[in-house]
Symmetry: C2
Subunit: 325 residues, 2 copies
């Protein structure tokens, strides 16, 4: 199969813009990279597996896009500026011989998002097996300006970008053999990593995480890391019209609180900085909503629109699908 | 399955020695790392897939060891000093609920090698699917001291560490339902990455690669990147006794030239530096052998022990198994 090197050279040797900090890119035993002085290197690795994270008949261009987007979302959550990516792609044997169009589409989706964020693909590996994609992203944070999970303090406002539960509703439709409407579908297939927002929140937010496993679970990680509790005002959750309808129909909040794949940022902001929110929303191009506040103690209290505590049908999303080590 | 976070915390939160350059390790959206000033960052990512790179009944401790070893071998091939690793582990659903002993053994193997080389595990991802392991390694090279594939010049000696074909013979035995002898088995399961040798060759070797796809294919990458040809003296190839026997029995050189998983270093050395070889071998703890020389032009000529050109049954190993992008 002499075509593999050609296939890789053709499709992966030149993804994303050239960068002066890539000393040696695709094509040697290692990539060789220059981290600017005064900057820390932020890295995150994520795997998407066929049947677990996407349906086997996935559009390869959407998969290429999303496999980079989930990593960029992790960089955003620390306030890191994206720089480089590596890609480990496992392709089924029966796909390999005729894989050129599939791989070309995958590379197109990956490359378009890489271009948008100035990310260069610097290395990778291609193997044979069940379809899965592992991407490691690399970015920079000026020393001491990262936003960790552990800085939330009682009194901080809890904020979230965009809307919640759209991807979860799209997946529910697909699994029920219904076609989700275009907006929902694009929220599942092409989540927009909130990179500009993450950068804008350096030095402002006290804690941050990206919402990939559902708001309740991910906010839970902030609470645990910070040693605090929180009160969520469910009536304030930013919901698209179809998710708002589904919440009313279901009579529960699982969709916005405990479905995965939102890739929004949840962050904590000292109350005296609340006035910064409209400007932040405008600069970063996404709506921002205050949904609750940090309290001392521990645990997550959810207050319904009537002001009474709501017991969640499912509070966590601790599965083997998407857990970062 | 609330046990997953516990499982990860228990087994992966603390692999390898603590390092002062890890600002933020396992447990946030990203790891945050400090690359020393004057050093370049070398990275390499590799995936091992069940059924392609290891047998499904693999010893998990050996798999943990090997999944890090293949990356360290790539770092060695550039002359990089290992520092950090990330790990993306995909486990079958039926393994997950009872996976604690399996994961503990995997972590033991990974952690022992990490400890040996001062490598800290700084992040990862656990997913559900067909068993596979992706590891990215990160190391340092002082600016300008890396050994690339592209520096070989006519007249350079071609050298190789250790012996060739042992892992290939072990695999052949296993696939024929025979138990390979202990030496061969350990060469397949626990290859020793030649990290000390790679470091010692900074500023000495003109080109280097690790032999993972077979000597002919990997030396071929050096020749192509350097724009040169080479002459190999097959009678000089360093072979263990069982491989030497197999070559005679088979009447061909496929085993040492074109079987995978050797993880030795193949490097080029200006002839006037040949006197350094015994000292290098002693300092790095592995035998070094001169096996040929670089010529102008292109192509690889293999001379048999009788001095006549030998045509290889298989010259390359261009499959979907182990190709770095």
């Amino acid at each position: 199969m002499a075509s593999e090197f050609d296939l890789i050279r053709t499709h992966f040797a030149d993804l994303g813009p050239p960068r002066g900090d890539v000393v040696l890119g695709v094509g040697d035993d290692c990539a060789l990279l220059a981290v600017p002085s005064g900057q820390r290197l932020a890295v995150s690795i994520d795997t998407l597996v066929s049947g677990t994270h996407f349906l086997p008949d996935v559009d390869p261009e959407a998969l290429g896009y999303k496999s980079l987007a989930v990593g960029l979302s992790d960089l955003a959550a620390l306030g890191a500026d994206p720089a480089w990516a590596t890609l480990a792609l496992t392709l089924p044997a029966d796909l390999a011989p005729g894989s050129a169009p599939w791989v070309a589409a995958f590379a197109r989706g990956f490359g378009a998002l890489a271009q948008t964020h100035g990310v260069r693909l610097v290395g990778g590996d291609t193997t044979c097996g069940l379809l899965s994609v592992t991407v490691q992203v690399h970015g920079f944070v000026p020393d001491g300006l990262e936003v960790r999970r552990s800085g939330a303090r009682p009194g901080d406002l809890i904020c979230v970008s965009g809307t919640l539960g759209d991807a979860g509703l799209a997946l529910r439709e697909l699994l029920a053999d219904r076609a989700p409407e275009g907006f929902l579908r694009s929220r599942l297939d092409r989540p927009v990593p909130r990179v500009a927002l993450g950068l804008a929140l350096r030095g402002l937010a006290t804690a941050m995480i990206d919402v990939s496993d559902g708001l309740a679970a991910d906010l839970g990680h902030i609470l645990e890391a910070s040693g605090v509790g929180a009160e969520l005002d469910l009536g304030s959750l930013p919901l698209s019209a179809p998710v708002a309808r589904a919440v009313v129909e279901d009579g529960d909040w699982t969709l916005p609180l405990a479905s995965g794949d939102d890739y929004e940022l949840c962050f904590c902001l000292p109350a005296e900085r609340a006035a910064a929110l409209p400007g932040l929303a405008e600069r970063s191009g996404c709506p921002l909503t205050v949904i609750g506040k940090i309290r001392s103690g521990q645990g997550l209290i959810c207050l319904g629109p009537d002001g009474r505590a709501v017991k969640l049908a499912r509070t966590g999303f601790d599965h083997f699908g998407t857990t970062d080590v």
